[in-house]
Symmetry: C2
């Protein structure tokens, strides 16, 4: 049985990374898709774990050779999903989780219609604002830009399959795990079980 | 938010009633839809809990007045789903579970396309046979009839939304609960959450 491709997106300030980390911890069969990026490595990051850190030339070559399922520019840097390791995992029956931004997610959906798109919401828009200011590490004009972007991202959420509200980490995690479990129960996934001699 | 209508079917001998009972026990917000039937009450059964026990005349009146969402004849008796209590519960935001046979389930889907249809399978067809014979309370010719019917039911399972294999009660229960949870996360259910002033 082929693995499932799950794509999670959500605005900056929605608390997505905490939820994703917990989902990965609770679901052993789930594999995290490591993105390629041209942005510099930050202290504590590990190449091949957080990202594949590559030069602009290498990234361009990946694009030219169609080795990226999707890619996007964000704040001057490129981010993309290498298709090789992803397809290998799916073919081996492992589910793969992609944590990518909205444009990339919609591109994945257009190329892989069976991908499951989950959009993560804040309990309210004021929460996003509060979390961005609360971090204390982002300049006010950057925060305004992120809020603007979050508003646009919200308009795109209608194109996702599922919406999960992060009003509580445990609840959000359990909803994402339920979505994955339910998707595997869908009839087209399991028709082989109807054979009398299975 | 309107409640969800969940319909579970499965051949005789698949162990469905144990699973359904456990699902009801674990999901407080779920309401069981009590069917109307013309079959005689059995010892231990309670009118209005196991079934609404009605006369043939009353059942015919329910049909004539379009008070049944679906009905079917089974071994000489009529069984049907009263639409009144069901719509009341859904309107009040309560989810309703229907444990009905295949023809009824497909009729529900045609009248309520948003109903979630779950078909319960045995791990293998031999299991159904073994369970029916193992009960020791059914005549061999009745068992053959039920196996025949189970084969036909399996051919209809492709029209269901989800297939759940009862190879393990806990697993089957957790899959059904996951399906319910995931269905509530579907984007069309939650578009109101995208309003900035929600």
């Amino acid at each position: 049985m082929r693995g499932k491709l799950i794509v999670i997106s959500g605005p900056s300030g929605v608390g997505k990374s905490t939820v994703v980390k917990e989902v990965m911890a609770q679901c052993e069969t789930l594999q995290f898709s490591v993105s390629a990026t041209t942005r510099p490595m930050r202290p504590g990051e590990v190449d091949g774990k957080n990202y594949y850190f590559v030069s602009r030339d290498t990234f361009q070559r990946l694009i030219d050779e169609d080795q990226l399922l999707e890619y996007a520019e964000y704040v001057g840097n490129y981010y993309g999903t290498p298709v090789g390791p992803l397809d290998e995992a799916l073919a081996a029956g492992r589910d793969v989780l992609l944590d990518i931004e909205v444009q990339g997610a919609l591109r994945v959906k257009s190329r892989r219609p069976d991908a499951i798109l989950i959009f993560m919401l804040a309990p309210s828009f004021q929460d996003i604002e509060a979390r961005l200011y609360g971090r204390g590490d982002t300049a006010p004009e950057l925060i305004l830009g992120r809020l603007e972007r979050a508003r646009w991202e919200y308009t795109q959420a209608v194109n996702y399959d599922y919406l999960v509200v992060n009003d509580n980490v445990d609840k959000a995690v359990s909803e994402i795990l339920a979505i994955l479990k339910a998707e595997k129960c869908k009839a087209p996934e399991r028709l082989h079980l109807l054979k009398e001699d299975n």
